[in-house]
């Protein structure tokens, strides 16, 4: 069996992965694919290892067993080997993770300065453009502490999109946002995906987001310590054979 680019238009291939902290196994036998251009949700209850899955994909943690390939390349936990790949990733962290000592423009400029040969003028223009894309035009010289949580998250998205990533990873986009800001962020992610054609991988348990923009998902179950469903979230909500999945996606309103 061959993996990588041979596997149709799969962008991310997770094969037979076991995640563990020491001898404590968190999840085992994870096998799924994320298609190019998908908005893919990793869902599951609290403590099911959603964020850990993300860390594995980013090479921040090594899989105890199995392999993850992104665009055909093997993900390793060695930052040196990952460098080339990481340049094509964008990551939006839960709280934005903006560098507090830098202005928004500087935050967005850092990856551009490190990874492109553009001159300062062009970098400044690009940074302004990215901030305008997330609705923050005119906030270039603000520090992260001077703007609201929702704006910080959008600025984080602008930074994640700085290098036009092929794949965008988002950790809990709705955490700490009001429903309207959360929805606006979802729409923004959708718009950016549509216009730039990137693949988006989102860790979330926010049902409105999942049904609103998700095209595919994997469901991690803490009890059985493995994935119990994969597919379109709206379809799973109505047709999954798994009561746990049905209950979760229907906010508990499901009787066997």
């Amino acid at each position: 069996m061959t993996y990588g680019n041979g596997g149709g238009d799969a962008h991310v291939v997770v094969k037979d992965v076991t995640m563990a902290y020491g001898s404590n196994v968190l999840m085992r036998d994870l096998t799924f694919e994320i298609g190019r251009g998908d908005i893919f949700f990793i869902i599951g209850g609290s403590g099911s290892g959603k964020s850990t899955m993300l860390r594995h994909m980013l090479g921040l943690k090594a899989a105890a067993k199995g392999e993850i390939r992104i665009g055909g390349e093997l993900v390793t936990a060695d930052p040196e080997e990952m460098r080339g790949m990481l340049r094509r990733f964008g990551v939006l962290y839960q709280s934005g993770a903006l560098w507090s000592a830098l202005t928004l423009r500087e935050n967005v400029s850092v990856p551009l300065e490190k990874f492109t040969a553009l001159d300062a003028d062009e970098i400044a223009r690009l940074a302004s453009l990215k901030l305008a894309l997330v609705g923050l035009a005119g906030f270039e010289d603000y520090y992260p502490s001077e703007i609201s949580g929702g704006m910080q998250k959008r600025a984080g998205l602008a930074r994640a999109m700085a290098l036009d990533p092929e794949i965008l990873f988002v950790d809990e986009p709705s955490a700490g946002l009001d429903p309207l800001s959360s929805r606006r962020l979802d729409e923004l992610i959708l718009e950016l995906r549509d216009s730039l054609g990137a693949t988006v991988v989102i860790v979330s348990h926010e049902l409105p987001s999942i049904f609103g923009i998700g095209t595919n998902c994997v469901f991690l179950d803490a009890e059985t310590k493995t994935m119990i469903a994969t597919g379109n979230p709206a379809y799973l909500r109505d047709h999954s054979e798994h009561p746990t999945v049905r209950r979760f996606l229907n906010r508990g309103d499901y009787q066997e």
């Binding site: 507090s100 000592a101 690009l126 453009l129 609705g135 290098l163 216009s195």
Partner: protein, 377 residues
């Protein structure tokens, strides 16, 4: 991978329309045309009224195309031209719409620099505010101490013990090293001068009295400002940033009682021991220098030292040390509690804790010299 095509943009004037023909792979890494070059016909006074685009030759694009179009927009606006974006790829048009969905926030007009007298006034006011703030903090800490004496201590005993260990036992190594070397250096410098008068034996007096009265307390306090003062500022600063301090406040627990007081108590309680330890090691360092380099015997040195150093000398040194410890702990906690909520804010707090701590120690040391002199101690 397919070969990349050089990005290019050509402009034709068709009746009153400037048509920009885009072609190739527009990528950030590529050498791309400048918007100002492309738009030269605009400034040349051509009879154009609108701009449109033909993107049929465009093979690939990223943000670089967007910034290019942004520039074109700006130039078109200044030349009062209409921009027709229908010829652009779908994604580009969507992104352009997205970028314009929220109008840019009006930048606040740059403030005019006020006259010098105003700025001076503002500085004095700020300094006054800070002074008042520091006094409030000192008051809070004092009240917390009063409550403790009345039996109302709110901190956890385990915290106090841990802080005591950090401020005491864990600091022994560095205090020992610094004090020993200080004694050695004092003896060495003193001996060179005293040798001229054949009074080498008085090196013991010099080292003993200097260490006991001032140097041990001063050096130990400076070491503790770098060790504990900075640690307190960083700990409390991070707690402030993480809203841990708010969590205490809303639970009805006074941060002065719970966080500040145990730190001050721990450092003030441990400092006398550290100073005694430092005096002892300083004298030991001096003795080593004297015995090793100056033909004095251990016994001679010891007898001379015990004759020179009196109990009041040592007690004075210990008292000074405890005072310095209170200053270090207070400045450290003050800076931490008032830290700005950011990584830079916490860094600044740790820096100011050490700097103001050392300044306070030196100032107090000077004051002690005068007061002790007046009292004839």
């Amino acid at each position: 991978m397919e070969a990349t095509l050089t990005p290019a943009a050509h402009v034709d004037l068709i009746e009153d329309t400037l048509r920009v023909r885009l072609s190739g792979d527009w990528r950030l890494e590529a050498d791309r045309p400048e918007a100002s070059d492309v738009a030269r016909p605009l400034t040349g006074g051509a009879a154009a009224r609108r701009i449109d685009f033909d993107a049929t030759g465009l093979t690939d694009w990223d943000s670089s195309l967007l910034t290019f179009l942004d520039e074109i927009d700006r130039l078109a606006e200044s030349a009062a031209l209409e921009v027709d974006a229908t010829g652009l790829p779908d994604g580009v048009r969507k992104l352009r719409a997205l970028a314009r969905a929220v109008p840019p926030r009006e930048a606040e007009p740059p403030e005019k620099r006020p006259p010098a007298i105003d700025r001076l006034g503002a500085r004095v006011q700020r300094a006054g505010g800070r002074f008042g703030d520091a006094l409030t903090f000192l008051g809070e800490a004092t009240l917390a101490f009063g409550r403790l004496l009345k039996g109302g201590g709110q901190f956890r005993r385990a915290d106090l013990l841990e802080l005591t260990q950090a401020a005491g036992a864990s600091a022994l190594g560095i205090v020992a090293l610094v004090s020993f070397l200080l004694g050695l250096i004092l003896a060495f410098v003193g001996a060179q001068q005293l040798e001229q008068f054949g009074a080498t034996i008085y090196v013991a007096d010099l080292v003993g009295v200097a260490m006991a009265r001032d140097m041990a307390a001063l050096m130990t306090a400076i070491v503790m400002a770098g060790r504990s003062g900075a640690a307190y500022a960083a700990q409390l600063g991070i707690m402030q940033t993480n809203q841990e301090v708010d969590a205490l406040t809303t639970m009805g627990i006074r941060s002065a009682d719970y966080l500040v007081l145990p730190r001050i108590l721990a450092l003030v309680a441990m400092m006398p021991f550290l100073v005694l330890f430092s005096i002892f090691l300083g004298i030991l360092g001096g003795a080593l220098a004297a015995v090793g380099l100056m033909d004095l015997s251990w016994t001679e040195y010891w007898i001379q030292t015990s004759g020179a150093v009196s109990v009041p000398d040592v007690a004075g040194g210990v008292f000074k040390g405890a005072t310095y410890a209170a200053l270090v702990a207070l400045t450290g906690c003050y800076q931490g509690m008032r830290a700005e909520r950011s990584s830079r804010g916490v860094g600044d707090a740790a820096t100011s804790a050490v700097v103001t701590g050392i300044v306070a120690i030196i100032a107090a040391c000077g004051l002690f010299q005068i007061v002790f002199d007046i009292l004839g101690l």
